[in-house]
């Protein structure tokens, strides 16, 4: 029982950390061809996420692996139900990774243009579709004792799509703040301006998302039952406001931190509302997959807890260290060839 609750929290945390970290990679990837006015600026944008995007993406694989190990029935239902949507995310992530690594590997303009488009779509689609997927999970999937009764088009309902738009804007502002933090000169300035302007759209999307969540989902029930949890969405809103305040004061680092906090708190706003459901059913609450009816055995959960306690602190330790190694700002004219493999 305690382990199931613990793994429900960890499940939420893994997704939150994934969105917080890969969120700025995806945002920067979407902005790459619009903020980068020439090859040097584009290269600076890629180098701003180059050393870390791969390590960030592993949080997704860990979230997937943890879902598999801790909640196998939920993993099985979710991944087979959302088959087509996940497939598009998969292709997009494949293309995004390859675009980041291969973009600079040939000099031709057509080569560059193709990978620019690939990087844009490979970043936009996961942001959008993760939003759509979570919007639908919040809303509940059409599951009953016979299984899943939905279609790909069914996932593209207005609330699901709006959650997708919300995620895209969240990651765009997040990515712009990362670029403002990491790149020097005019590019950094433009990134900061983009974050400040984009923030208004994000605020509008967030407000609509929050208000719409009440009629579209049953997430509010947990909050009505235990109002003190409302602190989490309230903090999310507070940090969202701080993003703007600090961005205007040109405290880029603080604004980026506030954006990280916003993403984590938004994710947990959903996770708390879901509890104990991993996948609520819209057709029949009895068919919902919960932390209790979809979990692994207590023995397996205990093994997984030991594994997490052993390795996750180490992972966080060396990832933080690598972030510190690359904490410098990237100059736009700095030659990418200076020792590094072309990027």
């Amino acid at each position: 029982m305690a382990f199931q609750v613990l793994w429900f929290i960890l499940w939420g945390l893994l997704w939150a950390v994934y969105f917080m970290l890969d969120g700025f990679d995806l945002g920067a990837g979407m902005l790459h061809r619009f903020l980068g006015r020439n090859e040097a600026e584009k290269s600076a944008i890629r180098r701003a996420i180059g050393p870390v995007w791969d390590g960030n993406e592993v949080w997704l694989l860990t979230a997937g692996g943890a879902t598999f190990a801790a909640f196998p029935s939920a993993y099985a239902s979710l991944f087979s139900s959302l088959y087509s949507a996940l497939l598009i995310i998969l292709f997009a992530l494949i293309i995004r990774g390859v675009a980041l690594e291969f973009r600079a590997k040939a000099p031709s303009a057509a080569w560059g243009r193709s990978w620019d488009i690939a990087l844009f779509l490979g970043s936009l689609l996961p942001a959008l579709l993760f939003g759509v997927a979570f919007g639908n999970i919040f809303r509940g999937l059409p599951l009953d004792s016979q299984g899943y009764h939905g279609t790909l088009l069914g996932l593209l309902n207005p609330y699901g799509l709006w959650t997708g738009v919300f995620f895209v804007l969240l990651f765009l502002v997040h990515g712009a703040l990362w670029l403002a933090l990491k790149t020097a000169g005019d590019l950094g300035e433009r990134a900061l301006r983009f974050a400040r302007t984009g923030w208004y759209f994000l605020l509008a999307a967030a407000v609509i998302f929050l208000v719409w969540t009440v009629p579209a989902t049953r997430l509010e029930e947990n909050y009505l039952r235990h109002p003190y949890w409302l602190l989490v969405p309230l903090l999310a809103v507070a940090f969202l406001l701080l993003v703007r305040i600090w961005a205007v004061q040109r405290k880029t680092g603080a604004a980026f931190f506030a954006s990280c906090a916003t993403i984590v708190l938004v994710t947990f706003t959903g996770i708390i509302g879901l509890y104990p459901n991993l996948i609520p059913s819209r057709l029949d609450p009895g068919s919902s997959l919960t932390a209790f009816n979809a979990s692994s055995s207590p023995y397996t959960l205990r093994i997984m807890t030991i594994v997490a306690l052993l390795f996750v602190p180490v992972v966080i330790g060396y990832q933080v260290w690598v972030y510190r190694v690359f904490r410098h700002k990237i100059g736009v004219e700095e030659s990418p060839g200076a020792g590094a493999v072309q990027y």
């Binding site: 291969f102 190694v325 690359f326």
Partner: protein, 450 residues
């Protein structure tokens, strides 16, 4: 085709494609780490140039291994939901450990290695590539322990309508998994050695950077020779495990039909599955199969007819793949041995014919590892978990054939494009040779700015 056949085809295609990149990553990471270590020790810029040249090829290959690996983790849930539900309590654990204990390490330190040339000390930089090498190999260990459990399920009980883990220790110490791990990573080392020897041969034939490529070739030849011999040895251990736990697979590998003691190994034969016999058999070596499988000449080997028709793997592909793997494996040992001798005697550049053979041998090692996996995976059929769950019972019930057709077409297009780009870049950068411009690094003192 139905959802089951389509899903099997898709899994086979995506796993085989993923496995084009993994073996090179396994072996080349070690070779690059070794080269950079020599640079650290000797301060000879040639070794730096060498590490960077092979490192660049390593990275082109590495990224494709990473992105095609995501597919594998997703696919269990997408196409094999019943399997995931039934065995996730056990099978999910090594996958989750792989991500936390190995994949993070690999992905984080590759970033440090690529971008860290002027940011960290030389020692830390070498450490980064060794950690990448360690992590890729650890990653393979956890994946193959997961696979080893599918081949020989241990440490579980059937409870609550599924298989539940009762003993993580026996999953971790599953001999089947460890033997497969050894056989697989070693074959990856062989493949990487042949890759390095082949590309080096190309440049040696053109008298290009002779010192660098001679040294690369000799390193790879020694690495390849040792690894290829160990591949054979681990293959022998593997055969013993198969004989003990998967007798039907062993029988299919040899197209062996009638159970008998003192079973011969037949050098040439052709299976005739319809009539449950071989169309012809030439040159049997008495008792050799019994010795191979049980290390005892009089041991009884089970023939295919000892198993009901629906519990036999398809004989022809398993038989042919196995023969091809063994044949190629022996050929690779021979080629590596010749290369090692020629390297030691300083006769590489004087042997254009051998160098040409080595250049064209690169695909042979790729074929050898692919057919090796075909033996393992087709030979396990019709089981998804040997003796416990049939493949047909594991497929996702909610899928429609059209969905899987669409995804299969998607994979074919996306992976096809990736293959074209990968081959283009590998050939381009292999031919281009090492970069002369090491200016940024040689004066490298770790940058200390904020």
């Amino acid at each position: 085709m139905d959802v089951l056949s389509l899903s099997r085809l898709q899994f086979a295609v995506t796993a085989a494609f993923h496995f084009i990149f993994v073996p090179l990553t396994l072996g080349l990471s070690i070779l690059v780490a070794f080269m950079e270590t020599r640079y650290l020790r000797t301060n000879d810029p040639m070794y730096l140039k060498m590490a960077k040249f092979w490192g660049k090829l390593f990275l082109i290959n590495f990224i494709l291994g990473v992105v095609t690996g995501i597919t594998m983790e997703f696919q269990f849930g997408m196409n094999w939901a019943e399997y995931s539900r039934y065995v996730g309590d056990i099978f999910g654990v090594p996958l989750a450990i792989e991500a936390t204990a190995a994949f993070f390490l690999e992905s984080t330190f590759i970033g440090l290695w690529v971008f860290g040339w002027n940011r960290v000390s030389k020692k830390v930089h070498v450490l980064a590539i060794w950690l990448v090498a360690l992590a890729t190999n650890l990653s393979a260990l956890w994946i193959l322990l997961a696979n080893g459990w599918m081949q020989r399920p241990v440490g579980y009980v059937l409870r609550n309508g599924r298989a539940e883990m009762t003993d993580f220790g026996s999953l971790f110490t599953n001999r089947f998994g460890w033997v497969t791990f050894a056989h697989t990573v070693l074959s990856g080392y062989v493949l990487a050695a042949f890759f390095v020897m082949g590309v080096s041969a190309y440049h040696l034939l053109r008298k290009n950077e002779v010192r660098l490529f001679r040294s690369s070739f000799r390193t790879a030849a020694a690495f390849g020779l040792v690894s290829s011999v160990l591949v054979a040895a681990s293959g022998d251990l593997s055969a013993v495990q198969v004989a003990k736990f998967q007798p039907a697979k062993l029988a299919a590998m040899e197209s062996f039909w009638e159970t008998r003691p003192g079973a011969p190994f037949t050098l040439f034969l052709w299976p005739d599955s319809a009539n449950e016999r071989n169309a012809f058999e030439l040159l049997p070596i008495p008792k050799a199969l019994s010795v191979m499988a049980f290390h005892r000449g009089d041991a009884e080997v089970k023939g295919l007819t000892a198993f009901p028709g629906d519990e036999r793997p398809p004989v022809l592909p398993v038989f042919l793949s196995f023969r091809l793997m063994v044949g190629l494996g022996l050929l690779l040992i021979l080629l590596a041995f010749i290369g090692w001798i020629k390297g030691v005697r300083g006769k590489l550049e004087g042997s254009p014919r051998y160098l040409k053979i080595m250049l064209y041998s690169i695909p042979l090692s790729y074929i050898a590892v692919q057919v090796g996996w075909l033996v393992t995976e087709i030979g396990r059929q019709p089981w998804i978990v040997y003796g416990l769950m049939k493949t047909s019972a594991g497929v996702s019930p909610s899928l429609l054939p059209a969905q899987v057709v669409a995804s299969l077409i998607g994979f074919t297009i996306v992976y096809g494009l990736l293959a074209v780009v990968d081959i283009y870049l590998l050939i381009k950068y292999s031919k281009k040779g090492p970069d002369d411009d090491l200016s940024g690094i040689l004066k490298s003192v770790p940058a200390k700015e904020a």
